[in-house]
Subunit: 413 residues, 2 copies
């Protein structure tokens, strides 16, 4: 109850500060922000060096520890307080303000999509850096460090706390496990606002597309295609399920999707298979819509198996099991919310043409908990994310850090 | 026309000979058959040695040539005329009778299911032989050689011709290519009756189950499961096709079957696949029934793709192609036909309890051409056919050779 009240007061204070307090445009004129912005530009070449250095420490899914150790060292060296690595591997460091709240988290993710053994050497040609993960999300980590150093150099003290996080498990199978740890355990109930810095460009994401992913397995006794004919067939039960899924009616607003992405199974053309599987992905930015399509999916599996067994008079019956292999909570931060309105005001003040995006990022977790959260990108120009040919053009990349800094200071007031 | 008349006269003569001429039971009492039966028993140990010797020459699918060369040598040594190897690799040798017709073919297959590099060494413990292919169909080859040698030893001259064949491509992917070559080209129009000696025991097969096998591929452009949602999905089109196939109504008499045996495709759970495939097997002993289910299958593929494309408003349309990867013609030799009645009379005369079987053997090809054909097994006791632990118990195995000999001489009269 007290926590709810606190959150309400925090949100009200936040709204007041943006609507009636110092606007980002006004704040830009202050000497401390002008000093901080100058520090960002001055420090940028060093931050780019750090971006490369960090990126050459491999951080495959579930093995972010070496890169995490380096961020822990950098956080400590930059004077953050209470620097620690939590159970999941998130690196956390605090920059205290005049008050404990609001507590804004500014985060970037440590992990990449690249498996162990990938050559993560970064090459440089003029302003162009090339290396796996150099934009996604070594740039985010460089922005986080750039904000800390510029605030330090300009001796900016925010009204509230800024907690810096380098987190694990953002990509694919990582399944947002870093965020789940942070919001469900490590800093449970302590975070008032959240910004993730992810990737390149100057985008702004306020809709968190959630997803449920399943590996579905159909089993039966199997047998000879001719000798045992008349026995229920797991692949044929799966075909019935897929046909039902294909016919799902889903809303276009909020956009809700489904996909049967992979199938496999069976041993021989002339054998009734004993096992087959499929992988299914369902997504929506809307919690209820995702739940609805998930419910249809489970019903379709059940009906398909019942139909298959009835069709073959229950001979050698087929069964099905669905294993949840990925779950990203859905959520969104309203475009009318103080955090989004503040972010748009910051962009306007900096002359950035902003449109709102949807995506699946670290912000999904706080959005799902109704904690104000957005994801911004880290500046510069990127290409080929998730490919071995990923590049990052450093031209004017300091703009990304300045935007993050102004947004963080405004929100932490 | 002339050929039809000839075939009619041959069939009539055959029927007359069994119904009104010398029955197998009477023939058994003749001195020449008694001498031949004695030779079979006397020669059996040598034939078992040959069975082992032949079996230790590898004959993987499509590589039967080494074993074929050995059979060519044995046929020649046993005095067969016009010994040759045809285009497909079948070894053919003729034992002329008093007249050119009827021309009975007695065949066994050279090929095994075992890939190159399989250890085909045969071990022996008492009466038990163990080795890949020792029963299926090294036993058949030993019976064919045993019949030739016993006929020679007893100086039996049949009324018609007996053509001995060691053929290729009986197993799996071989797709009966030896028989197709023999009946469609090498001995086209020259064969009046056909007996295949295949495997162990004393069975009799008069129904040739035909099969059509397809590898079906569904293709589309593919894309991101969320970003490109609304695009037709090859796996989902395949699901629709499988659901339709699963609902096929097929006759139980003649037994007609279908099976989706294997599926595979897709690159990732969160990608609309660009390609997927399935393998489908359909079987029947009835040509018309097989054709009917094959027609339903092609219609189902077409409908499924049309439905999938309509469901997604033709965005990124999906296409399908079905490649015929196996085709065994269906056919049967009526249980009332002279050849089956003669075979049953031979069994009765030898005290063999006979029931009629169905199967997929070399006889499928002549059955499909309405040439009287049956498959008999080669005696002894077998186990584990198509496995590396295949065994053959030689106990009383000479009975298989005696049965084949009496049947051949009766039919070739």
């Amino acid at each position: 109850m007290l926590r709810c009240l606190l959150r309400f007061l925090t949100a009200a204070a936040l709204f007041a500060s943006t609507a009636f307090g110092q606007s980002p445009a006004e704040r830009l004129k202050s000497s401390e922000i002008r000093a901080a912005f100058a520090a960002v530009e001055r420090n940028e070449p060093r931050m780019i060096e750090t971006q490369i250095h960090v990126c050459e420490i491999p951080a495959p899914p579930f093995h972010e520890d070496a890169r995490g150790k380096e961020l822990e060292r950098q956080f400590t060296e930059a004077g953050l307080k209470d620097v620690r690595i939590d159970k999941a591997g998130n690196v956390i460091g605090v920059r205290p303000g005049k008050a404990a709240h609001p507590n804004l988290v500014l985060a970037a993710h440590l992990d990449t999509v690249f498996p162990e053994g990938t050559d993560v050497h970064v090459t440089r040609e003029g302003t162009l850096l090339k290396g796996p993960g150099i934009g996604d999300d070594c740039r985010g980590l460089a922005v986080v460090l750039g904000v800390i150093h510029a605030l330090n150099d300009a001796r900016v003290q925010a009204s509230g706390t800024i907690t810096f996080v380098a987190d694990v498990g953002e990509e694919g199978l990582g399944d947002l496990r870093g965020m789940k740890q942070l919001f469900y355990e490590s800093l449970k109930g302590q975070i008032d606002e959240f910004i993730s810095v992810d990737g390149t460009g100057l985008g702004l994401t306020n809709i968190g597309v959630g997803s449920n992913r399943y590996k579905v397995t159909f089993k039966g006794p199997g047998g000879h295609s001719y000798g045992a004919f008349g026995m229920a067939n797991p692949i044929q039960a799966m075909g019935r399920a897929i046909a039902k899924i294909d016919a799902f009616d889903v809303p276009t607003q909020p956009k809700t999707t489904f996909n049967v992405g992979r199938v496999g199974g069976g041993t021989s053309v002339n054998a009734i298979p004993f096992e087959t599987w499929m992988e299914v992905d369902m997504r929506s930015a809307d919690v209820a819509a995702l739940k609805a399509v998930d419910g249809k999916f489970h019903a379709a599996l059940k009906e398909a198996v019942e139909e298959e067994n009835a069709r073959w008079h229950n001979r050698g019956p087929v069964s099905v099991s669905a294993e949840l292999v990925g779950m990203r909570p859905a959520g969104q931060t309203s475009k009318d919310s103080p955090i989004v309105q503040t972010a748009l005001a910051v962009s306007r003040a900096l002359g950035i043409q902003e449109t709102l995006h949807e995506g699946s990022t670290d912000s999904n977790v706080p959005m799902n908990l109704h904690i104000p959260a957005i994801t911004i990108s880290g500046g510069g120009i990127g290409s080929g994310a998730h490919s071995l040919n990923e590049t990052f053009d450093t031209k004017d990349s300091w703009k990304g850090t300045q935007r993050a800094l102004l947004l963080a200071v405004t929100l932490a007031q």
